[in-house]
């Protein structure tokens, strides 16, 4: 597995080269949200707003009304929390093409509760007209731009920065989950960084005889992929969701809503922050502390199938890229 640095920074510059309608807005976190190179390359298309997030969101609505597409960048918390009213009334209500790039999802920052976006998906899922995308690897960090730009309305992108693994070769597709393994004991739905975490243990689980259908979710809203429903229907023991987000309102809730609407009476285990804020610390420490790591997944599976699997952290492996790609290719056929 390869880690790549500042993927969004380089990609955005390349991608926007022939798109003069794409304008970047910054709120005093230019390098922290990887738009420094854009500012340098296209100074005329870059607007600094400083720490005026409410003002910035409304101005993005204004600019979108005139035919430009603002790509608004800052930490997610300063948008969906501080400027929710502005997102709703200046952008979402008029269904304007603003692309909101929210950084530092969940426990990916040591910045503590003030910086960790733990309920962004939950809050923004309730906002009419809003499309919600989340990236889980370098390929998605790149291809999410095309997906976002194809949408006639506002888009929230839960974006990754810094060192990111490249797990996938195929670009992200709107409303399509990635099938990472096939199986019928249980369905595991993961999003964002949780997919990489789950991949550390899935081959091990398979060797122990657990048959897992693993789906990677990148479109949170609209949540209409038939593959999800089909997989859940055939799952023998039940369903597990794994998200870098509170279990209220995010992926776990979407799946729960889907299951109850379709009358699929199966167990659902939601791995995520359990109605709690987190605190400052490393990603690895926080994932363990809040029980959203690969070992927590093993425990949830043991609980669901009613059997001990005797897996320790020593059994974990590096996410298997070749295997994933093979499956994606066969799915495409």
């Amino acid at each position: 597995m390869r880690l790549e640095a500042r993927v969004h920074e380089k990609n955005l510059v390349k991608w926007a080269a022939d798109k003069p309608e794409v304008i970047v807005f910054s709120a005093d976190l230019t390098n922290s949200t990887e738009i420094g190179l854009f500012k340098e390359t296209y100074p005329d298309r870059f607007y600094s707003f400083g720490m005026t997030e409410q003002n910035m969101m409304s101005a993005a609505g204004g600019m979108a009304r005139e035919g430009f597409t603002p790509f608004v960048h800052t930490f997610a918390v300063f948008m969906y929390r501080r400027a929710l009213d502005q997102i709703e009334m200046s952008i979402a209500y008029p269904n304007l093409k603003v692309r909101i790039f929210g950084f530092l999802p969940g426990i990916t920052t040591p910045g503590g509760a003030s910086h960790q976006a733990i309920n962004d998906i939950g809050i923004l899922r309730t906002v009419p007209n809003m499309t919600i995308l989340e990236t889980g690897d370098a390929t998605e960090v790149e291809s999410v731009l095309d997906v976002a730009q194809s949408i006639d309305g506002p888009v929230y992108v839960r974006q990754l920065r810094g060192q990111i693994p490249r797990l996938f070769k195929e670009p992200m597709k709107l409303g399509k989950s990635r099938v990472l393994s096939k199986g019928d004991d249980l369905v595991l739905l993961t999003s964002g960084i949780m997919t990489e975490e789950a991949l550390k243990v899935i081959p091990v689980l398979k060797k122990r005889g657990v048959s897992i259908e693993h789906l990677h979710i990148s479109t949170h809203k609209p949540f209409t992929d038939d593959n999800i429903l089909n997989a859940i229907e055939k799952a023998r023991y039940g369903v597990i969701t794994m998200e870098n987000h509170t279990v209220i309102g995010g992926l776990g809730s979407s799946v729960s809503e889907l299951m109850s609407e379709k009358g699929l009476g199966k167990r659902l285990v939601r791995i995520g922050l359990k109605d709690t804020y987190a605190h400052g610390g490393s990603k690895e420490y926080l994932m363990k502390y809040y029980e959203i790591d690969a070992m927590s997944l093993v425990k949830s599976i043991e609980d669901l199938i009613g059997q001990k699997l005797n897996i320790t952290e020593q059994d974990f492996i590096e996410p298997q890229i070749d295997e994933i790609e093979q499956l994606v290719k066969s799915e495409d056929l």
Partner: protein
């Protein structure tokens, strides 16, 4: 247009708003008193806008904006076409919607009949204006967001090389809001001089006199210290409004602080002070008092 004709429009606005307040058992009447000259001067004198492109009688509500709503209608059409050289108008405190509708009627952009739909179910002529309401372009009911939206529009128009001005009517109460000041500092930072704001400084907010609610003064000095050009005038003096709008403000946004009176020309409201935000008619006696005033001052309802 001569000053007297503008004055006539202003009093026509007051008369219509008073009439509707009586008919509906209440309304945002004090806002008409304070801002009638501002709206009359903008539409009759200051704004370089084209003729209305909207039906004289406003269309019924046909859904909120969404990617699937193809019949969505924007109220900006009453202010004429969007052209690079033409001005645009944005009302920030949309609690003034009835004042704006009345101004559209008085300046021939909407039929008086359209006003009959005011605050009726299924109508776009809403009590608190939305973007589909006549004369409205933005979603401004959550106060303090319009100036930032206009900042974005002005930035975009500048990118496109457009020369038209962007007029905004604000209320002084909105200067309690942090976002307003974020917008002012950013307008200054980007040297945006295509934005002209007229503030209806009537000193009133929902709870009563602004000075008893929070502190916004000295407004002129505050605006100047944020990098704007600010002028302070009598907001009922049409000539002063015109002169103020011509204040040079190269490289800076212009704010005209129009000091106004919430009971102007409808003096009978004085006794309700400081509770003037929403004039509620509580009993028959209050109603007949206002009816008598409408008759004596304006000669009854509009023909």
């Amino acid at each position: 247009m001569d000053i007297d004709s503008v004055k006539k429009i202003a009093n026509g606005i007051r008369r219509r708003v008073l009439e509707f307040t009586i008919r509906n058992g209440g309304g945002y009447l004090s806002q008409a008193c304070s801002s009638a000259e501002i709206f009359a001067t903008l539409y009759a004198e200051l704004m370089n806008i084209g003729p209305s492109m909207a039906p004289k009688i406003p269309p019924a509500f046909c859904g909120v904006p969404s990617k699937n709503n193809k019949s969505y209608f924007s109220g900006y059409l009453y202010n004429g076409p969007k052209e690079p050289h033409l001005d645009r108008f944005f009302l920030s405190p949309v609690h003034y919607a009835l004042v704006l509708y009345a101004a559209l009627v008085e300046t021939g952009r909407m039929d008086a009949e359209g006003l009959e739909m005011f605050n009726r179910d299924g109508s776009t002529v809403e009590m608190i204006g939305a973007d589909h309401s006549p004369g409205h372009e933005l979603m401004s009911g959550s106060l303090g967001q319009t100036l930032s939206q206009v900042l974005g529009i002005a930035m975009a128009r500048k990118r496109k090389g457009e020369t038209g001005k962007n007029w905004v009517v604000m209320s002084d109460g909105e200067f309690m809001i942090g976002q307003t000041w974020e917008a002012v500092e950013t307008l200054s930072f980007y040297n945006i001089d295509t934005v002209k704001v007229i503030i209806d400084a009537n000193g009133q907010s929902a709870d009563g006199k602004i000075g008893t609610v929070n502190q916004i003064e000295p407004l002129k000095q505050r605006l100047e210290s944020f990098g704007a050009v600010a002028v302070e005038i009598n907001g009922h003096d049409i000539q002063q409004l015109i002169n103020a709008a011509n204040t040079p403000h190269e490289g800076k946004p212009l704010f005209i602080i129009a000091r106004t009176n919430s009971c102007q020309e409808i003096e009978i409201l004085n006794k309700r002070a400081p509770k003037l935000h929403f004039i509620r008619i509580n009993n028959e006696q209050e109603k007949s008092e206002l009816q008598r005033f409408l008759q004596e001052k304006f000669g009854g309802v509009n023909p």
